[in-house]
Amino acid sequence: MASLVGSRVERKEDKKFLTGKGRYTADINIANQTYAVFIRSPYARAKIKKIDASKALKAPGVVDILTGEHIAQDKIGGLIAGWAIRSEDGSEMKCPPNPPLAKDNVNFVGDPVAVVFAETLDKAKTAAELVKVDYKVLKAVTSLADAMKSEVIHEGINKNLCYDWLLGDRQKVKEAFDKADRIIKLDIINNRLIPNAMEPRACVVDYNTASEEITCYTTSQNPHLSRLIMSAFGGVTPENKLRVIAPDVGGGFGSKINLYNEEIVCSWAAKKIEKPIKWVAERTESFLTDTHGRDHISHAELAVTNDGKFLGFKNETIANLGAYARVFGTVTPTYLFGPCATGVYVMPAAYSNVKAVYTNTAPVDAYRGAGRPEATYTIERIVDKAALELGMDPIDIRMKNFPTEFPYKQTLIHQVDSGDYVAGLEKAKQMADYDGFADRKKDSESRGKLRGIGVSTYFEACGIAPSAVVMSLGCGVGLWESSEVRFNPTGQVTIFTGAHSHGQGHDTTFAQIAADELGVPMENIDIVHGDTDKGTFGMGTYGSRSLVVGGIAIVNACKKIVAKGKRVAAKMLEVSEDEVEFKDGEFVVAKSNKKKTIEEIAFACYLPGSRDSDFKSPLPEGEEPGLKETSFFDPANFSFPAGSHIAEVEIDPDTGDVKLDKYTAVDDFGTIVNPTIVEGQVHGGLAQGIGQALTENAEYDANGQLITASYMDYAMPRADNFPEFQLGFTCTKATTNPLGVKGCGEAGSIAAPVTVMNAVINALDGREIQMPATAEKVWRACKENKKSETEAA
């Protein structure tokens, strides 16, 4: 039987999506459901003086109106930060309470203060207009640069500072810098982004008055964790009375990792009003209240020798947490960022210092790449600047500083098990026709255009993550994954996984790996995910972890199935266990024609006896009936995908328009299970990364109003923004899991922003501009360049 791992299998899930039969949360309706409309703060920072819902309560069709007072009375807990980060001085981070409905203070535009439930959506919206909220408006803190000098937002959190964190050794860095021929300095802004999954957030909640069970359908990347938080911290109801179902979910990109206010409120309220509740976000609510991404201001320095060797690196960052610290909010700018900020290079000394601050903006949390795009942006910009200042080729300076022997102990934390950075960059250089750039530049210039080329090399720590490591770093939970592999008596297989698919194609990829392990045709394998009542606990999907952690749990459970199958086959074939070999779905005895298929074994496990068998069981003594195995896989290490990307842009100096002309990505994801799906993941990540570099920017005004709260104002990349991407792969297998897989979901969004910006800045002869490289900024830079040229002449 040919291996399915490595094959371009078409996706099993596609037909339902293509025929309109996907079932997303907003598609679900429950008889007699009420419709929820949330009343949100129109101010970025204010005190709630009074909420008067009396008139609204009398409006037609209104079932109930609940506020933060009701939440407090029922002792419903709030949203939490998932990671506790310590400051350099050893003190614990400072987090404000984040009640599901604000009672006393609102801290960003969109912070919910009350909720209306009515018989129809129209009636709920009409009634919501009648709820009077009296606010005392306070001065909003919206500037990240000034946040530490501004008024204190949350009582007791001085300087609006959550933590002042350090990773690395300041003294060693100082010594390295003292020895340097040259110090390269860089000031950068990592622009704030809005993830914008195309499916707006939603929840539909049902309460069963007989069983007292709450069922919450929701748009989540990790329903088990949502249930845990809602139960353990929200106090909504015990876990055994709460079922969270994330059905088909229309993209997440990190924004659906968090449990949100609306899910807690609707789950709590459904029990309170004893009616089903449906809530679907409008797009503007998504813009305002989905967690945002990035938003750093950094100053970095790189110490180099005159011949381009790196001696040390330091980084000082202010990271925006927004109004509250959420699940991955505090770890994204620290442990997901700092260790990767030294890039793929041998860096004898380094530190990263991050001050995370609160502002009156939407909470900032993990967004595709989470910390690693920011890290890669910092190091890869400064490396390019070093090459420029030293008069070196950007590829040569990188090659000079690559580690070449693996495993490689990276400067800060990570032990990188495998990689070949030289091979990746060589391949990218060939594929991108790097040497032909000079001719293409001439051609562009002959048409009055500027042309630039940009290179970046990255590694990332993903496959999140070894529990003991992350818990020692402050994570509140372990990040293992579980799976259960269940044979039916008639031979089909159902696999339950704690990972969640919201576009990644798990139904296909997971079935491919299980088909190889079990020798069962893929079409006989179903993957079940997204329902806390189906399967064991799981940690969900983010951090390129589904295959690397969840997939391995499936492999391990399959191996247990095969082990039991061998024992049963040995008994049935009347040989010893070590005479039985398992291959392509059959248990065979060498040099004989004795064999049993895995389906026959499954059947015997469920029906252990027969009319003619003389009371003899096919099962060895002590063996339980049934064929079902569970595995919890906790990885021994992170995984470390890496790659080299090269972009070329052409700029019209008269308009500032940047055209991305060529993009080459060469990535090393270890073993690739389904090349088609992996390419799709890379394409999508690239599009988001290029969006960050060229078009996307979340912008608040001085009063804290989000002025990019629709697709007319927030420039989502569209089909006509991209060239055809050229993808290539190299492969060094991960040594820490049996498949050798490393994860691929975030690579594109990690590498692309800096690759494109290096190309833009190269076209601008080294003049630095900040992301996004909009026409206006580029046009101004072109004008400045022209002015300098004229002055020089």
Partner: protein
Amino acid sequence: MKKISLQVNGKKIVKQIPEHTTLSVLLRDILNLTGTHIGCDTSQCGACVVRVEGKSIKSCTAFAVDLDGSKITTIEGLASKGQMHPMQEAFKKMHGLQCGFCTPGMVMSAIDLLKNKKNPSDQEIRDWLEGNICRCTGYQNIVAAVKEAASKM
């Protein structure tokens, strides 16, 4: 309330609806055709594209009462006798979808393109689909799917 009569995916429908009912709400909430998605409700994302009298429109911004008497095709109406439409087949073959949320609108727009132009270039496909936002695919395999469908239709 107003009575309207429509032909949806070949079936005659007569309904009493509030005048402000948009076509997307009629399809999703009244006819239970939830394949048409609402991504923004303001004509900015394209997830709700359906065909009315053979032309693609954004159903979130059309009043159903204005379309009285029209023939409407939604994503649910493309397959016939269990056979997917060539555009659906092409999206599957070329991996032109991931989470599937923008997909129905994307497929409907793409079919409209091929009605207007038989063998569009990559650039023409990208320009045509400018009104449909996809956050997952980076559009590359959508373009490939439309080209694949063009070779079959």
